[in-house]
């Protein structure tokens, strides 16, 4: 199989940007043109949440694909996709706070403590934020070995995020169950490195 070249990588990144930005543009157009329902708040929150979840699936797919098809350069797209996870997660929480809670901050903190699904979502967002903040090359170099073990927390996110989805829906559990299954497969594929991360070198 042909190896991915630097040039190919560049165009792949362009494609990834387009495929993550176009849903955001689509959402903005749908809302502005009054095509997202009579009260688009829940739609926006759900849509951006699904965006984060889908981007997370893509991030976790990259290294299995790179290994399977021996395309080392592919790994260089992980940062880009990971930052889209963070971007969608930010839009998701921003929509929740500004459009649903309408900036009732006291209520937000009360909810985080009381509602497991919000707690789990908030934990995912904290992980995403830490990973985004430490995603720069300079920080990566500075952190050395600790960088990898910090970024392994994405596996925790891969468990928390679909649970957040599952717990937040009223009844339609088929879709969240499918996501839980997908993440379980992606984690199963990494069982060795996860074991190593959790229990040290055996």
């Amino acid at each position: 199989m042909k190896r991915l070249t630097q040039r190919g990588l560049f165009w792949l990144k362009v494609c990834l940007h387009i495929s993550f930005l176009s849903p955001i543009i689509y959402l903005v157009l749908m809302v502005l043109t009054d095509n997202a329902g009579g009260d688009p708040v829940q739609y926006i929150i759900h849509y951006t949440g699904m965006g984060a979840l889908n981007a997370l699936v893509v991030t976790l797919l990259i290294s299995p694909l790179a290994k399977r098809f021996k395309q080392g350069l592919l790994l260089q797209t992980r940062r880009l996709v990971g930052l889209y996870v963070f971007a969608f997660a930010c839009l998701h929480i921003a929509a929740f706070i500004s459009l649903d809670l309408l900036f009732a901050w006291g209520f937000l903190f009360e909810e985080i403590v009381k509602r497991p699904y919000i707690l789990v979502g908030a934990a995912s967002l904290i992980i995403a934020t830490l990973l985004a903040l430490t995603s720069f090359q300079a920080v990566k170099r500075k952190l050395g070995k600790r960088w990898q073990s910090l970024h392994n927390w994405i596996y925790v996110m891969a468990i928390l995020a679909p649970i957040h989805f599952y717990w937040s829906v009223k009844s339609e559990i088929i879709e969240p169950s499918i996501y839980i299954g997908i993440f379980a497969l992606l984690l199963w594929y990494r069982r060795k490195s996860i074991k190593q991360w959790l229990f040290g070198r055996a």
Partner: protein, 344 residues
């Protein structure tokens, strides 16, 4: 025909559950999505395109645009005690933000999927422990009773709310006409089961896992209260399908899911009937489902609600939820001695 007004102000006996004048947002502060579109020049972009293209542009997953369901104007009175001083939720939000899982679980699905719904012929049967069972057809629904407009608050269990001008008649009036037996303890309601017309009934993924037909119930005392309303219209016209055409129940002091839509059967019984959301998740949705800010949903708070009114995205307000949605004066007596934490 009664003229349609954006605001309807109660004169004289203003009920205790109405909002005060100073709680009503002045119209001038509303921002409108359409203004943003205009400002961005997107309106012009849209308008300059031929209809077919416009429909296709933002409806990537749907087919071609179909004509909306035809509604007719209604004649009705406006009894004072049911005209609350409150800002109404605009019609286009009431008809485009619906929970009606028979047509899909997203809020805009019912609007998108229900426009071809056939309500003629329709049969609403009143049966069970009654002196004379009745069958009402589509025409009876709007002619057999003197229709009236009632402005009711609607509080969804998902913690959003609207203020809706319904047109219809009282459930108690219908039950009295049929003559309720003194053995009766409950009333059961059933939505149409027609998988050909209701895609959510054909497909489990689309129908949210509910066991169809959708069923609901009340105690006989609740049913004979003055508040339960059989709505056949909205904003002065017959109901569009997404709001439960041709006839739906409205129970303003209970969470929205109790207000069953597109009703075909009302059965008076001597047992507590099963109810759909209770069957699906009994620890989350009880038989009573009275609006109660003190009893949270296991997964979210019921203490406040997002009130959907006029204006754009940021115009909604978070307001405290009232006990019995503010209708305690009419219904609190029904639950005397009942532990509402246990009987949620």
């Amino acid at each position: 025909m009664v003229s349609k007004k954006g605001f309807t102000k109660g004169v004289g006996n203003t009920p205790s559950w109405s909002l005060k004048e100073n709680e009503v947002t002045p119209e001038s502060v509303f921002s409108d999505r359409r203004n943003i579109i205009k400002a961005l020049g997107l309106g012009a972009l849209g308008a300059s395109l031929p209809g077919q293209v416009q429909a296709g542009l933002f409806d990537l997953f749907g087919g071609e645009e179909k004509p909306p369901f035809a509604v007719q104007g209604l004649d009705y009175s406006k009894p004072n005690q049911f005209q609350i001083v409150d800002r109404l939720t605009p019609e286009d939000k009431i008809t485009r933000h619906n929970n009606f899982y028979e047509f899909g679980t997203s809020k805009q699905d019912p609007f998108d999927n229900a426009q071809q719904f056939q309500v003629n012929p329709w049969e609403l049967r009143i049966e069970g422990l009654v002196d004379k069972p009745l069958t009402l057809d589509l025409n009876d629904l709007t002619t057999k009773f003197d229709l009236e407009e009632r402005i009711y608050r609607l509080r969804c269990v998902e913690a959003w709310s609207m203020v809706v001008p319904w047109v219809g008649f009282s459930l108690a009036e219908l039950l009295k006409m049929a003559g309720v037996s003194n053995k009766a303890t409950h009333v059961a309601f059933e939505t149409l089961f027609d998988p050909d017309q209701m895609p959510g009934q054909r497909n489990r993924l689309m129908g949210g896992g509910i066991h169809y037909p959708y069923v609901e119930g009340l105690t006989i005392a609740e049913a004979m209260n003055e508040l339960p309303f059989l709505a056949v219209g909205l904003y002065g016209k017959t109901l569009p399908p997404q709001n439960g055409a041709p006839v739906r129940l409205v129970l303003p002091w209970k969470y929205g899911f109790k207000s069953i839509k597109s009703v075909v059967k009302i059965r008076v019984t001597d047992k507590q009937p099963p109810t759909s959301w209770n069957q699906l998740a009994p620890h989350e949705y009880g038989f009573y489902a009275n609006v109660n800010p003190q009893v949270d949903h296991p997964r979210w708070s019921q203490a406040s609600e997002r009130s959907i009114g006029e204006g754009g995205l940021f115009s909604a307000k978070r307001i405290p939820t009232q006990m019995f949605n503010g209708y305690g004066e009419q219904v609190a007596d029904l639950y005397k001695g009942l532990d509402l934490r246990k009987f949620y």
